[in-house]
């Protein structure tokens, strides 16, 4: 069974962390992964940085720009992750925009992920239809899950379709705002969480965007299997360094 599914089957709510590979320093990637695992994080999204991350807010964009400047690229990341699987048991997901993956070659990219032991990919700008028509079989051959997003404006019909074709989890975008983390959620967001909850989807949902502290974490996990923290985590290591990871994670739960 895919490590993602295994994790999702566990009791309790999941905390997943997104960070940008190569940030703050080129060689921090592996260290951050270890520290996250040690802190009890359930899942990790390793961000493959892109020059034009148009679904991300300024924090992630700045970290991506910096990481590319630091020298991060696809091959370099694969090299960093080469021997990691032996030491990390939690699911590892690569999250990145489609163009760098396309340039690497989608098949080569998937093969490499499989070899390293990556469990899944999140590619926000790869449309579902296009994925199904062109890449689905490649992903399956390489035992890679491709996780899809849903957002507040996504229609019920489309959510049901996404549910029906999903592996692993659905990445549920908490709001239509990508300007980074907030301290609380609006009534409309809570309505949205409840509405989706009531749909009784077969696929577990993890909520991301706008989660960044204990309060928001506790809120979203009421309506889902877990939460993804991205911007807030990056902001923390920008301000307090990689050493502060454990205490940051402790502050969340």
């Amino acid at each position: 069974m895919n490590r993602i599914d295994k994790k999702l089957k566990e009791e309790g709510k999941l905390l997943s962390i997104y960070f940008t590979a190569g940030y703050p320093n080129l060689d921090d990637t592996v260290d951050i992964i270890f520290k996250l695992q040690e802190s009890g994080v359930d899942m990790i999204e390793i961000g493959l940085p892109f020059s034009d991350p148009l679904a991300d807010g300024p924090t992630i964009q700045d970290s991506s720009t910096k990481a590319i400047k630091n020298g991060m690229n696809t091959n370099f990341l694969f090299n960093q992750l080469k021997r990691i699987r032996d030491k990390v048991s939690i699911p590892l997901i690569i999250m990145g925009y489609f163009n760098p993956i396309l340039q690497y070659g989608v098949e080569d990219f998937c093969k490499k992920c499989n070899k390293i032991g990556i469990d899944g990919l999140i590619i926000p700008d790869l449309p579902i239809d296009y994925y199904e028509a062109n890449y689905k079989s490649i992903f399956e051959e390489n035992q890679l899950y491709n996780m899809f997003l849903i957002a507040p404006q996504t229609s019920d019909k489309r959510i049901k379709k996404i549910d029906s074709i999903s592996n692993g989890f659905i990445y549920m975008v908490s709001s239509s705002s990508i300007t980074g983390s907030k301290n609380s959620f609006s009534p409309e967001q809570i309505n949205y969480f409840e509405r989706i909850e009531k749909m009784n989807l077969k696929t577990p949902r993890i909520i991301g965007f706008g989660v960044g502290n204990k309060e928001t974490f506790n809120t979203v996990v009421k309506y889902s299997k877990g939460a993804i923290i991205g911007s807030a985590f990056i902001k923390n290591i920008t301000e307090n360094g990689v050493e502060s990871i454990a205490s940051y994670i402790d502050s969340i739960r």
Partner: protein, 393 residues
């Protein structure tokens, strides 16, 4: 060979809508409604009335006598420089604002580089009384101060894109982000035949008025509706799309697309996507773009702010690959000299974008009876400072 968009939003191998899920509903709504709306008689009437009384269409097809003499052929200029706000860009924004109203949108966003599309957008928003936010790279805001002032005079907010290279590409990212953040209230007016489906097709349709007019104008002037050459500059490719639209299937008509070579194709400071680009994804579209081998988008360079886009619209990628269009790359210095030449021969100062198209003449071999139609995409007023500095005027 088909040159119009297919049902999935592709031109051959190029196009599509590579956007995050958050934008899916917006694009889905657009895709489902745009054809119906713009083919509606009521819409057509409003659109055509505005084109006539507000934009100043039809724009003349002007026989350039002195240019024709110099280049020994029959050269016609399609005078988009005479459009309200000074370039072809407004053909598109007038169409999109009417569309936005019919979609019930209350707010407009747009990206701009040189500021020409920003001005055209701010203009139609003032006309419609709709809130308008223009994203513009922080560097471009400094470079193009007069156009920033125009937008503000028109009541628009101009927001600086401080990310990345702080130019057009980044302004586009910021506009897309805004749209993600405001999916219900807001319509995004893209300024060229780029971006996710259905934008390239929609913008091309709004610009197609250009070749539609040329057809009847040429019959009046030359007794034939098809020229031997169509020549246009290509930034994203909207003025070119408008010029070519009704001639795409007419293979007798040669198509020349002129890109900015900047300081030279091999100089490292260029925007010649046809030579330097590879297939990739930019701003939601699969097309040719300039990128590193890792797939990071490269910052292009041209003296012309309207041509330094790292990609071309998917239609143009398709026209290139299918050999329907021939691409040429013109350096800054060739373009600047051509701009000066046209000014002195015809009394019309071209935008530096437009000047690129004229610079191609000396590399082409026209026959005396060849009918050449050039899209005079915009006037040079916005570029005066660049001309002044370059020629020490």
């Amino acid at each position: 060979m088909k040159y119009t968009v297919d049902k999935k939003g592709f031109y051959g191998n190029y196009g599509g809508a590579f956007v995050p899920e958050m934008l899916f509903p917006n694009l889905d709504e657009l895709e489902k409604k745009y054809k119906k709306i713009i083919n509606d008689i009521d819409f057509q009437e409003d659109y055509n009335n505005l084109l006539k009384d507000y934009v100043g269409r039809p724009t003349p097809l002007y026989f350039a006598e002195r240019m024709s003499e110099k280049y020994k052929s029959k050269i016609y200029l399609k005078r988009e420089d005479l459009c309200h706000t000074g370039a072809h860009k407004i053909n598109n924004t007038v169409g999109q604002i009417l569309l936005a109203k019919r979609l019930g949108k209350k707010r407009i966003i747009a990206e701009t580089g040189a500021g020409q599309h920003g001005v055209a957008t701010a203009t139609v928003c003032a006309l419609a009384g709709i809130e308008c936010v223009i994203y513009m790279g922080a560097i471009d805001i400094k470079r193009q101060a007069p156009n920033v002032a125009r937008m503000k005079m028109l009541g628009a907010s101009v927001v600086a894109a401080e990310s990345g290279s702080k130019t057009l590409k980044d302004a586009t990212n910021e506009a897309i982000r805004d749209w993600i953040n405001n999916p219900v209230t807001t319509h995004y007016i893209i300024g060229s035949v780029v971006g996710p489906h259905p934008y390239p097709d929609m913008v091309a349709k709004f610009q197609s008025i250009v070749s539609k007019e040329i057809k009847s104008q040429l019959i009046e002037k030359e007794g034939t509706d098809s020229p031997d050459y169509l020549i246009a500059n290509i930034g994203g490719g909207s003025n070119a799309a408008g010029l070519y639209y009704h001639y795409l299937e007419d293979k007798k008509v040669k198509i020349i697309s002129v890109e900015a070579a900047g300081e030279g194709v091999e100089s490292g400071k260029s925007a010649a996507t046809s030579v330097l680009g590879k297939t990739g994804i930019i701003h939601g579209s699969k097309t040719l773009l300039m990128q590193t081998k890792d797939g990071q988008i490269v910052e292009p360079y041209s003296i012309s702010a309207g041509l330094d886009y790292p990609g071309v619209g998917p239609l143009h990628a398709h026209l290139l690959k299918s050999k329907r269009a021939e691409f040429m790359s013109i350096t800054d210095s060739d373009a600047m000299l051509a701009g000066l030449e046209v000014s002195k021969l015809e009394g019309i100062i071209p935008a530096i974008e437009t000047a690129h198209a004229f610079a191609a003449f000396k590399y082409l071999d026209f026959k005396p009876n060849d009918i050449i139609v050039v899209n005079f995409s915009g006037r040079g007023d916005k570029d005066l400072n660049t001309y002044i500095d370059y020629f020490n005027l």
